[in-house]
């Protein structure tokens, strides 16, 4: 009998994943014993997310590599775990009143959000392509179900089915890309791949290049970049609004973390072959996202197209591939989380039971009836557009400066041009709120938890814009 060497297992570095998985299962079990009132379940989920955020600091002396180099705890992953727990907690808080109003009474909803967060943590901390694939699959499967959780609503069904079919197809591309890279290098570990590329020991360059192209297609779909963005508007529109906000932040941030690890950290030497391709994808995302958003009359679709354009800006951070790129990437995702949750919080507040009030025309005259809500919505939209002194401006500024440092001047000029275009449709909503007469009655019940989320988002958006230094310091060290 051959002796098998026991693997290196470092459970402490895996702490956030373990804590959150246990809480996700606990939520499932507790849900069996509570009836209609889900307060306890929600409370447990939020405690679980808090514990996860704390356990992310379990390791000192970063970076720590464990499990034969397939898992890493470094500054990037710790910061991403913070973003994930924050965005999932905000999504759960947004869901409390929304789910009561829309009659979503399944406790599994919260469990799926937690499991999805587990997937995101794995995705952001993995340095092995198999782990990245598993992470992406966990995240996607949870999202397919969450998008379709309103089973009696045909729009929700459509969103789930579209997302599932296209997502499964894109996963195929991703996996194919990974196998080709494996074929070319003989390993799935990103660290080893980087080493092999540096020493020019790739078995077959054509295989590697084809693998890279397929990886870009797979990741490009997961982050909704043009030309793989067609699902975004429909899915964002059909999914329950808190899920839409959740989808636009956490999973996207996770996919970008993996994107950054695979391309900027493992394959920087091969950048001449993928840089130009990513530049095209980024520029197309910005232009088509912004031009698409101008045509929309539905606020959720508008935000969906705007998120496609934001993917374009964030891709610039991946293309820059320096340390400023990674810190500007996390800063952007954090700022984006606040802005998106704020904007969707307002969208939820304005809706009511039978009518979700999703048309932009429904916002006419909001400023006269509810000036505070109109002001907050304007702040979130202007921040998305990149207006100083809000968070969106600082985030864009850092991404652009990271790119300029690497000499991508044309790309940055195009991105700034796009920011200007984007103001057109953000301002359109503001014009409706301030300069049109109210069309119907607003029946707004200020649900306490949703208001709480909007307040947090407001503090985050303004705070990150005016005092970005503490967070920036943290991202850079």
């Amino acid at each position: 009998m051959e002796h098998i060497p026991s693997p290196t297992v470092d459970l402490v570095s895996l702490a956030p994943v373990l804590v959150l998985s246990v809480f996700a299962m606990m939520v499932l079990l507790v849900d069996l014993y509570v009836k209609r009132d889900k307060t306890l379940v929600i409370f447990i989920s939020l405690v679980g997310l808090l514990m996860t955020a704390i356990s992310a600091f379990a390791k000192f002396d970063l970076p720590v590599h464990s499990f034969n180099d397939s898992y890493v705890v470094d500054e990037l992953s710790v910061f991403f775990i913070m973003i994930f727990t924050l965005s999932s907690a905000l999504a759960i808080l947004l869901s409390i009143d929304y789910n009561k109003r829309e009659g979503i009474r399944m406790g599994e909803y919260y469990s799926l959000i937690l499991l999805c967060t587990v997937g995101m943590i794995l995705l952001a901390s993995s340095t092995d392509m198999i782990m990245i694939f598993l992470g992406i699959e966990i995240v996607s499967i949870c999202l397919y179900v969450l998008a379709g959780i309103r089973r009696s609503d045909p729009k929700s069904n459509e969103a789930a089915l579209k997302y599932f079919l296209l997502g499964a197809f894109a996963t195929g591309f991703l996996l194919y890309g990974m196998t080709l890279v494996y074929g070319a290098t003989g390993t799935t570990k990103l660290g080893l791949i980087a080493e092999l590329i540096r020493e020019e020991q790739i078995a077959s360059k054509p295989l590697m290049l084809m693998g890279i192209v397929l990886l870009i297609i797979g990741f490009g779909f997961k982050v909704a970049s043009v030309p793989f963005h067609m699902w975004a508007p429909d899915v964002y529109h059909g999914a329950p609004t808190p899920v839409t906000a959740f989808m636009a932040v956490g999973p996207k941030a996770a996919a970008f973390a993996a994107f950054f690890r695979v391309f900027a950290e493992a394959m920087p030497v091969l950048s001449p072959s993928w840089e130009s391709l990513l530049c095209i994808v980024a520029v197309l995302s910005m232009f088509i996202g912004n031009v698409g958003a101008i045509m929309q009359t539905n606020i959720k679709r508008l935000l969906a197209y705007s998120s496609v354009s934001h993917v374009g800006y964030i891709l610039i951070a991946v293309i820059a591939k320096n340390s400023l790129g990674s810190s500007s990437l996390v800063f952007y995702m954090l700022a984006y989380a606040f802005m998106i949750f704020g904007a969707f919080g307002i969208v939820i507040l304005i809706g009511r039971k039978e009518n979700e009030m999703l048309e932009i025309a429904d916002y006419s005259g909001l400023a006269y009836k509810h000036p505070l809500m109109a002001i907050s919505m304007s702040v979130f939209l202007l921040s998305l557009g990149g207006m100083p002194p809000l968070a969106g401006f600082v985030a864009k500024f850092y991404i652009f400066s990271a790119a300029i440092k690497e000499g991508f001047v044309t790309l940055v000029v195009l991105a700034v041009l796009n920011s200007v275009i984007s103001f057109y449709y953000y301002l359109k909503v503001i014009v409706y709120m301030y300069m049109k007469e109210p069309e119907g009655e607003f029946q707004i019940s200020l649900a306490p938890m949703t208001v709480f989320v909007v307040v947090i988002a407001m503090v985050g958006t303004a705070g990150l814009g005016i005092f970005p230094d503490p967070i920036l310091y943290f991202t850079q060290h």
Partner: protein
């Protein structure tokens, strides 16, 4: 010797794969797919990856194809439905698609013709044997192995949530 076995099987696989795409009836496509999977299993076997070959037969040619067949039969196709409905042909689109395919093929042969494909990493003799697969699964890949259980749990919860018959709790 291995090449003598590989080329016929490889050719057969390519033709069966084409059959999956070109076949008019779903059942026919599924049958071609089974044949293709078995061919791939044979390719694994001549690479000495016996364990992977057996897994290929059990999982793909067995379990997954049974699911495929189930779905096709559950859909209960009648008459016209037994053939795939194809979209109305668009000559311009077909033409452009053909140009694209020819372009990609040309570029691929150009790159591979440069002899850059010629140095595949040799695999070890033990690659894909039961012992080797088992060892790597519990040493190098112990984390993915465990994480897969979270994936399956999520998928299971999802399936139950979407499929359970009573809507409320």
């Amino acid at each position: 010797m291995e090449l003598l076995i590989f080329y016929p099987i490889g050719t057969l696989c390519v033709f069966l794969a084409l059959g999956v795409v070109l076949n008019k009836s779903p059942i026919g496509s599924a049958m071609c797919l089974i044949g293709m999977m078995l061919g791939l299993a044979a390719v694994f076997a001549i690479q000495h990856a016996h364990f992977i070959a057996i897994l290929q037969v059990i999982i793909y040619a067995g379990a997954i194809m049974v699911l495929f067949m189930f779905v096709i039969m559950l859909l209960n196709l009648k008459g016209d439905d037994t053939v795939w409905k194809t979209r109305e042909g668009n000559t311009l689109l077909t033409g452009l698609g053909a140009v694209l395919v020819v372009g990609i093929l040309y570029k691929m042969t150009e790159i591979t013709g440069g002899g850059e494909f010629d140095s595949p990493t040799p695999i070890q003799e033990t690659f894909g044997t039961t012992v080797k697969v088992g060892t790597t699964l519990f040493t190098d890949f112990v984390l993915p192995f465990e994480v897969a259980s979270i994936l399956l749990l999520a998928a299971m919860i999802g399936a139950v949530v979407l499929a359970k018959s009573k809507m409320d709790d």
